[in-house]
Symmetry: C2
Subunit: 242 residues, 2 copies
């Protein structure tokens, strides 16, 4: 499993992914699921990948290789809008699916790569998308400013309760980390390190990126404070009068 989340705010975007991959409980490993394409002053693109690792790695490689060719075909460095960027990711996904799917059909693992793509291109506001395994996609908006993939349920209640488009980047960062804490407590297949980017609107460069490893002092303190605080709130709730 995987947990990835992207949050679109008035002030920017917060994106985070876990790093655990597994093929059965006796075969798990760490792989970074966050890929950043950055050209300072022009564009910042952050991709968070979920699903079969062979599929997601192939898609990222295709995107990178295509971006190195200057044939004139549009690539992620020449795309003019986030919509066009997401179309390119979708195209790469479908190319890999066309290649792999017939060979995966006979086995238990299907092609199931999916992505959250967030960022900003010069001339556009920051935008955030979720691409489904089929290659079609949706964009976050004011009513639903966050998108999740993978093990989304355990960490959703806290986001639902505290998040709005006007939330500050600092608060959204905390919210994402609490959401990961809840998820990792309940699902062993989501695991550290957590990769997090906090992108400031119109900065057009990544100024805040952080990896939270097992035992990270801030994350540990946040988790403990949250647990204690929640238990305290709980204790103060009124008892039911029968």
């Amino acid at each position: 499993m995987t947990y990835c989340v992207g949050i679109l705010l008035k002030d920017g975007i917060v994106l985070a992914s876990d790093s655990r991959t597994h093929a059965g409980v006796d075969n798990f490993a760490k792989f970074c699921k966050m890929t950043v394409f950055e050209r300072a002053g022009d564009r910042v693109l952050v991709l968070l990948s979920s699903g079969n690792l062979a599929g997601t790695q192939a898609v990222i490689n295709v995107l990178k290789q295509r971006s190195e060719v200057t044939s004139g075909a549009p690539n992620i460095w020449t795309a003019r809008t986030m919509f066009d960027v997401v179309m390119l990711v979708s195209d790469a996904m479908r190319d890999i699916e066309r290649r792999d799917a017939p060979f995966l059909e006979s086995g238990p693992v299907s092609f199931n790569a999916s992505f959250i793509v967030g960022g900003q291109l010069k001339g556009e506001p920051p935008r955030l998308f979720r691409i489904y395994a089929e290659g079609n996609f949706i964009e976050a908006g004011d009513e639903t400013p966050f998108l999740q993939t993978g093990e989304a349920k355990y960490g959703k209640p806290i986001i639902d309760r505290v998040l709005a488009p006007a939330t500050t980047l600092a608060d959204a960062t905390k919210c994402v980390l609490v959401s990961f804490d809840s998820t990792m407590r309940s699902n062993l297949s989501v695991g550290m390190p957590i990769d997090l980017v906090c992108y400031e609107r119109d900065s057009l460069e990544v100024r805040k990126r952080r990896r939270f490893n097992e035992g990270d002092a801030y994350f540990t303190a946040l988790s403990a404070d949250w647990s204690e605080g929640v238990r305290k709130v709980f204790q103060e709730l009124p008892d039911l009068q029968w």
Copy 2:
């Protein structure tokens, strides 16, 4: 979908179920998913049902009808242990599955009834079980004192954080209601009323049963207090220093 939860404590058992059933989003209804068999001074059995309503209703009817026959075959009034009670529920499930499954095979809806069964028989401590759709089952214990069925994920983090076997019945009742609140915020297919039984160990009768309807004053206050408290705890968490 459905949400049912049972919690086994040193002081007794708390059991609760939602009431929403649906066949597609344009066909939803309310049905009580809690069935209580009670003979004061001798036994209290509470069944919470999940899954296809035709299946779970048939199972309950079979159990009731078999309990009215005094042929000597064991039934839920004559069973000597909770294990035997759960075996009877499992038998009824398998009988209905044998009857229905071949006719459901061609359609999209399979036989998928499952139950949480909690209670106490004179001479035994309170016990709590979860019966899978296949009719096999597990029993809660000190390490895992709670069992959920249906839409279990959204409401699990709060139970994980505050619950232990020594938790009081009053606190466990609150915890269950907060867990339902989180679930209903995130999944429209879980809905009020909530049926809740708070069974006191060795009482051998149901003294505390309550239905929480939409707009219930206590539930509404609990939900508001919880939201406000959680947001406050969140605001007091330390910011990340980049």
